[in-house]
């Protein structure tokens, strides 16, 4: 299984963390610090896998962001690279040529998308189209709710005048 997902920038700033195994808040900070040190210093020509604490961390750099997923020793590292790419492509489709800034200002949306891709550290949906459709449907539910609230507010405002 995937134990956790980390997105860190080249400067070591955390852009997203998702934990599928029990790590306390203190442990999480420690893990992030350790892995940042380990991964950010690796040269570009090295393989995308590091062994760490009996587990394996698969990472891939996309522009200024490192996407990291921690897996068990007997999991398929090459597949995880595909899962990372799967996530990146969905993000790209959603934001339209995604960049780090998109993920900073819309971090909650990045999480919503991740939640349609992974649950309990396992892959949920192999079709990017389906993921996009599901996220869009939920986004529009939010939009509709917003419109309703604002229209009610208008009515009340009118009445209160």
């Amino acid at each position: 299984m995937i134990h956790f997902v980390l997105l860190i920038s080249r400067q070591g700033k955390v852009r997203l963390t998702k934990w599928y195994s029990p790590y306390s808040q203190k442990e999480r900070t420690k893990v992030i610090r350790e892995l940042s040190g380990l991964i950010l210093t690796r040269g570009p020509k090295l393989c995308n896998f590091v062994e760490w604490r009996g587990l394996r961390v698969v990472y891939k750099r996309y522009a200024s962001l490192y996407f990291c997923m921690c897996i068990d020793e007997d999991d398929n590292e090459l597949e995880i690279l595909e899962i990372i790419h799967h996530y990146v492509e969905v993000l790209d489709r959603y934001f339209g040529s995604v960049c780090e800034l998109d993920l900073i200002y819309n971090f909650h949306k990045a999480y919503f998308i991740l939640d349609e891709l992974l649950i309990a550290g396992e892959l949920q949906e192999p079709s990017k189209r389906t993921v996009a459709r599901l996220v869009a449907a939920q986004d529009s539910l939010v939009e509709t709710a917003k419109e309703q609230t604002s229209s009610i507010t208008n009515i009340i405002a009118q009445v209160a005048k």
């Binding site: 955390v14 852009r15 997203l16 963390t17 998702k18 934990w19 599928y20 029990p22 790590y23 306390s24 808040q25 900070t29 020509k45 090295l46 393989c47 995308n48 896998f49 590091v50 062994e51 398929n76 590292e77 090459l78 597949e79 690279l81 595909e82 899962i83 900073i104 200002y105 971090f107 909650h108 999480y111 919503f112 939640d115 649950i119 309990a120 396992e122 892959l123 949920q124 949906e125 192999p126 079709s127 990017k128 189209r129 389906t130 599901l134 449907a137 939920q138 539910l141 939010v142 709710a145 917003k146």
Partner: protein
Amino acid sequence: MNPFSSGTRLRDMIRAIRSCKTAAEERAVVRKECAAIRAAISENDQDYRHRNLAKLMFIHMLGYPTHFGQMECLKLIASSGFPEKRIGYLGLMLLLDERQEVLMLVTNSLKQDLNHSNQYIIGLALCALGNICSAEMARDLAPEVERLLQFRDPNIRKKAALCSIRIIKKVPDLAENFINPAASLLREKHHGVLITGVQLCTDLCKVSSEALEYFREKCTEGLVKTLKDMANSPYAPEYDIAGITDPFLHIRLLKLLRILGQGDADASDCMNDILAQVATKIESNKNAGNAILYECVGTIMSIEDNGGLRVLAINILGRFLSNRDNNIRYVALNMLMKAITVDAQAVQRHRATILECVKDSDASIRKKALDLVYLLVNESNVKPLTKELIESLEASDQEFKGVLTAKICSLVEKFSPEKIWYIDQMLKVLSEAGNFVKDEVWHALIVVISNASDLHGYSVRALYRAFQTSTEQETLVRVAVWCIGEYGDMLVNNVGMLDIEEPITVTESDAVDALEVSIKRLNSDLTTKAMALIALLKLSSRFPSCSE
């Protein structure tokens, strides 16, 4: 401005934080925001709860404490609107972990949401439950999740399947309840439901032998057929990656087949054809294809032996080893280490390529290759392998030298066929990387030399020669010094010459000079100097003419 409204929008807060030039500035902004949020919380502000939680999550990611916001998650989850629940559940998953008691309070909301009329809300609940539920919550809500495995919407079925995985991991006793519903998921057509269903069955097999037997008996054939259909399916744009239809499903199916075939001849038999097909037909020029091949090899190596398939598998690994892509080489080495226990001979055939990897520019690969070589050494191949390893020693960097040296010394000691060979190899290692050789190792060398009386002359001459060419390595100097002290007369008088040796002229004063150099050299530590002095003492009684 209203002091109780957290006036800034999420975007504005993020912008403000990003424009801070120092850590102190950032702390100040965060403190101000937190204060406003705390105030809003104590006022039970409803309007901005949603936005405040989003802000808290951002602040949390920066590393600041945010536990005061945990109850807000609960309130949002308990709200009736979808947007509130969506952000509430997200906050729950980010700000809490399963060990916190606050989590238990969500159980009731979860139960209601799992029965909601809006399927997206059911989805939110399943996701949260699947990601962070505790054993207690798992027990409480298992019946709901079980029911949802048969929900009309595939999106919910697939979420329920993954949620079930977490449940059975937390409470393995519940596994048997999920066996039947999981089996029916295997007959579905929807890819999302299929991959999650297959994953659920895989995890069920790991926690319950009852499940394993059931799936093995009832589902193996069906799974083989599904994989066949996948492998033979025409182009499907929705699932296509690098020309292969749904590699993820291929891989999950191969994993489950692995578990079902392991230790069972019938089940293994059933899958031989499709495994051969996948192993030969899948293209390996893209990562997706290689990921499938890698999984396929793993399955072949784990199930009951079919000679032809095993050869096929090892050959794929052999090809992987020469692939330019580091990742592929790395996973090949990994798999070969597992393959050794199953078919050592086949792995031996790829020795040459593995040895190449010991010189690889990637540290992870070098280390793995070395571990593998170590496992491959036996009496018949120890000589050529050691030769290669010592060559690699010359080319390797400081970091790797230590590990490599230790392994070579260990091998040489373990498998040495003749004493003279052992001494030769140790000499080479000492000349190249003596500084990395541990004390026990060179002590052992001295013991061996002293016990091999016919090799005393040979040893001292060889060491003298080595000493002339390289005085860099401390340990070499020490061993040389000891030998010269003990067997100095043999050195000078060419005693006990072996056929293979070239004659060497060393006078008594040459020998003494060598010892003097050892004492005077800059790098010599106390041990070396002491040893050299003792050696001089020994020589002074044997070479009376050079006593001064």
